[in-house]
């Protein structure tokens, strides 16, 4: 489990830039699923396309997996602005099994990474099979659509292949 460490938290609180309690929109990924695709929360008739390299303009789509393998997602906000959602917001400061960014194209997950400054996870998808396993478990529990190559990469990292 990954913690939001006290050194980072204290520094952000001192600057008014901690977002544990932000009121910005956070979604359970499962609630965005319909007919096998991830939908735009603003318009459920549209398949969602979002993520650092697929959105125009560029916007990051962050996720975290909690102790019970629930996966929460949100558009990454601008730190220090009102109601901005950041990694620490997704489960309001709870410890998590995994965190990073997703890229979703036409309703299908096309990239999963492990980059979260808050939880200090960069690289863990490569070095810790439990990280990839947690992501896969969370996504499979809600039957989230995952690109075949991304799935096999995660399965390999999780030691399932």
């Amino acid at each position: 489990m990954f913690k939001y460490d006290r050194i980072k938290e204290a520094s952000r609180k001192a600057k008014g830039e901690d977002h544990c309690s932000s009121a910005g929109p956070v979604f359970e990924l499962g609630t965005l699923l319909k007919d096998g695709l991830i939908r735009d929360p603003a318009d459920h008739t549209m398949a969602l396309t979002v993520g650092r390299s697929v959105s125009k303009p560029e916007v990051a789509f962050i996720y975290a997996v909690n102790e019970n393998f629930a996966i929460h997602v949100a558009l990454d906000g601008v730190r220090g602005t009102q109601d901005a959602v950041k990694h620490e917001t997704l489960f309001h400061n709870a410890e998590v099994r995994a965190a990073g960014e997703l890229e979703i194209e036409a309703g299908v997950i096309v990239k999963v990474d492990d980059i979260s400054g808050t939880y200090g996870t960069p690289g863990r998808i490569q070095t810790d099979p439990r990280f990839a396993d947690a992501v896969l478990t969370a996504l499979d529990e809600i039957h989230a659509p995952i690109d075949r190559n991304v799935r096999s990469g995660l399965e390999r990292r999780a030691g399932r292949l």
Partner: protein
């Protein structure tokens, strides 16, 4: 990407998320960036600065292709990161990041000398007895698998 050591000062004044974002842009220039970051890690005493430098190093290593980190900088990184992991005075937050980076180094280093390899293994051995459950569990589960990756590459 051009890099000057002064950029590290600017970076350390920003949030850890900005540090991580900057690390995403470090490509072929990573040897110089890692070298400066390791020097800063050695000289900095402020815990928040050290957290940021360690996360910067960790992220650069995470995004580097396997087996591409220059041997000279990998050697310095192994010694410096292992020192943080085995320290009795460093906060656990710093040790976690140093251990993450050390695990990545096994995979990312072009080559490791026997002394660096030995120092890293020693750090993992000590980390397995850490009072911090995250450090302890991580060290127990992944160290040998990662260590064997570089050993396999070296003997290939």
């Amino acid at each position: 990407m051009s890099w000057s050591a002064g950029e590290l000062d600017d970076l350390l004044a920003q949030d850890v998320d900005d540090v991580v974002d900057y690390a995403r842009s470090v490509g072929r220039g990573r040897t110089a960036v890692l070298r400066d970051s390791l020097t800063r890690l050695e000289t900095s005493t402020e815990p928040l600065d050290r957290v940021k430098v360690l996360l910067f190093i960790q992220t650069i290593l995470a995004l580097a292709p396997d087996g591409t980190v220059a041997s000279s900088v990998a050697e310095s990184a192994a010694l410096e990161l292992a020192t943080v992991v085995v320290s009795t005075s460093e906060p656990d937050e710093l040790k976690r990041s140093a251990l993450n980076a050390l695990a990545l180094l096994f995979v990312k280093a072009k080559e490791l000398t026997a002394s660096a390899d030995s120092r890293m293994r020693e750090a993992f051995t000590l980390a397995r007895e850490s009072r911090d459950p995250e450090i302890r569990d991580f060290a127990r589960r992944v160290s040998l698998a990662n260590a064997n990756a570089v050993v396999a590459r070296r003997s290939a």
